[in-house]
Subunit: 417 residues, 2 copies
């Protein structure tokens, strides 16, 4: 069986899979973290009027042009403007107005001198410095103007987007509904309770973490008919289905056959040159993507990261956020099977000021504890035989970065031998 | 007023603030993303027994030691072991057993030869290669052993932690309850609806995003008595209170006085050398932290990032995850007011293969659109006068990284002039 490379299967996946997820309206207070369903433009100018950015004295720039510590300018104080009250709306030559932060600027004024440079005596004010014209004024629409784009379709809403939408008068937002994802775990050993269904918990937690909804779950025996029927039911209520197990290269390669038994089913790719997770496959059934991934937890996690995200990004029209990375020195040689893109679990930690990268010795795709002990993943590209000891490598962090002495792990102690 | 540096105020904050957040029990299925309240150790061995890692033939290593393509070893096939059924439990010399992936290894066997190197003829099997002793066997407890730590108190639960906890028989987990955070926005102009309460939406969305609960909200007039009374009520139902506005250096510096009016109140710091957000202050009221931050959205966001997270980390005993960063070339000079740590909003984007960093021209702390247009923050340390055009700088990403040509922003076009 000749497997394709990651980039080849990702290209196929993105080209051939196109799922349609509708919008739903949520209250603006519940919108953070959701993917917005359409472009939103500002319906207001922000600030809504020209306003003072400081507490101070508003005046005409030409009147205060020469003011300095040693030769202050004297102006007539004709009133006071607060954010909610005003006894002046326009200003003539040699007149000044006391303004508070956020207060509207009276017409005629084109500079505000901060209060600390002003001395007020009854209805006169001494100004002890000048500022360039328009200083300390926030102009109407300088932040957002009617028609400015606040967010584009597919944006994952951050607190500032929510704030800008609210400021623009939106009290609800149309977002993509959560993608509905079915999880079918195949395996008689799981069904009979002989081994814990670890991967089920990993996948369902993963789906929730990325903002999806677990729409259907079932543990299915190693039987083509039963897998096929469970998938048919799952897809009735789901946008995507994930099937674990049943696709090893051994004797019980049932899941691919079960998928292809369904009408309008089609292979996208079968097998991929990654380690762990080489048996990962993808199909379309009635236009809905079905991912077949390993039942072993580490391989399952790597496959979800690689194959689920691009499908959702395409549906939302969105771009993935960059993951946190860090560079450090590899403490021992790491060898790679050329032709496979490999994902090694490593510990990245600070050792006397520098970051070191410690590959975990156990690397089996079933070894869940490698994910628990690791805080980073080191990707080795297909064309490399590995990295030499002492190489500077960049890793993707999946947990916090700590001092090596704080990680309660024998692997880090080994690095100091 | 002599302000302290960020590092000074953070040290004070972490030393003086210590909030007590209880645990609550949640179903394992709802645990992802929560902070675990105690250490959890494995109650089981994983795998629960020695098992085959492949479909193949289990045998004694000494019997298969010489097997090769040209001189296969012939053994007697005495039975078959599946994950859920077995007709053999132990193996004598020159005997072999067919095993499936995950099946228990019969006693006596100490290697498994993958099925693709075996030829079965009735009750005989030819083995065409050998493997080192113990190959293709997953030993009991090799992943997790009874008593191994799965997660330490304060860990933010990831999908693999949930999976390992479930595998270890935990169907519920004790996690820190969500921290209860009150948000009081001061300002007559907000109360009277003259300006939108933008910062309220930013802060409440931020609290939800970091896994907190908004426990109390109120818009309060610019009045010491009223702020004081609202804070007293807020703290009755909250672990932390955030007050916006009312602490400018101008004429209406009300919030600090309002906080200090309450019994058992104490200043932690007042003002900090950051831009934007220099008026940020922190107090303790009956042992509960009260953060006074700017009512301007960008300054408010920077202050939340700096001051809220350390308080929660200390409460949970947890370490922050590293934020995603990227390095790129600054397209124009950026100057800094020495003595202040400054946070500039920038666009980081890919321009013909290299990453460029484009500072936004408008930098006012009220300018929400800078957060909307930016996808990264560039921190300039206190002791620098800025960065020269062309400098390589590292920025913290707050949104996805795109091609410069895709960012619909005039600033990026300017970079190409």
């Amino acid at each position: 069986m000749k497997f394709a490379s990651v980039s080849e299967v990702l290209e196929k996946l993105v080209n051939e899979v196109s799922i349609d997820i509708e919008g739903e309206v949520v209250d603006i207070q519940d919108a953070v973290g959701r993917y917005v369903y359409r472009d939103y433009i500002s319906r207001v100018d922000l600030p809504p009027f020209d306003r003072s950015a400081v507490d101070g004295v508003a005046a005409r720039f030409t009147d205060v042009a020469g003011a300095s510590e040693t030769s202050p300018v004297l102006l007539k104080l004709v009133g006071r403007v607060d954010v909610d009250s005003s006894d002046v709306t326009s200003l003539s030559q040699f007149e000044a107005v006391l303004v508070s932060t956020g207060a509207p600027i009276p017409s005629g004024a084109d500079v505000v001198i901060p209060i600390e440079y002003c001395l007020i005596r009854d209805n006169l004010v001494y100004l002890y410095r000048t500022y360039p014209r328009y200083s300390n004024i926030s102009f109407r629409g300088e932040d957002l103007r009617v028609g400015d784009t606040i967010v584009r379709k597919g944006t994952k809403l951050k607190p500032w987007h929510v704030a800008a939408l609210a400021a623009s008068g939106y009290d609800s937002v149309e977002v993509f509904r959560k993608p509905r994802i079915a999880v079918l775990n195949t395996g008689d050993e799981i069904l009979k309770g002989l081994v814990p269904n670890t991967t089920y918990y990993l996948i369902t937690a993963y789906i929730k973490e990325i903002g999806g909804e677990v729409s259907y779950t079932k543990v299915v025996p190693d039987d083509i008919e039963e897998i096929s029927e469970a998938l048919r039911r799952a897809l009735q209520v789901s946008d995507i289905a994930i099937i674990t197990g049943g696709s090893s290269v051994g004797s019980r390669d049932l899941a691919p056959d079960a998928v292809l038994k369904l009408e309008s089913s089609k292979e996208i790719f079968r097998g991929v040159r990654i380690r762990p997770g080489r048996t990962a496959s993808a199909y379309l059934v009635n236009g809905k993507p079905v991912l077949l991934i390993s039942g072993l937890p580490v391989a399952a996690y790597i496959s979800l990261e690689l194959f689920l995200t691009p499908i959702l990004n395409k549906a939302f029209g969105s771009v993935s956020e960059v993951k946190p990375t860090i560079s450090g020195k590899l403490v021992r040689r790491l060898s790679n099977e050329v032709g496979f893109k490999s994902f090694y679990r490593v510990i990245a930690c600070r050792d006397r000021g520098e970051v070191v990268i410690i590959p975990l010795r156990l690397t089996g795709s079933g070894i869940l504890s490698t994910l628990i002990k690791a805080n980073a993943i080191l990707e080795v590209p297909e064309d490399l035989e590995g990295y030499d000891e002492g190489s500077e490598v960049e890793v993707t962090l999946i947990g916090p970065l700590e001092e090596c002495s704080n990680t309660s792990n024998s692997e880090t102690r080994k690095s100091k031998e």
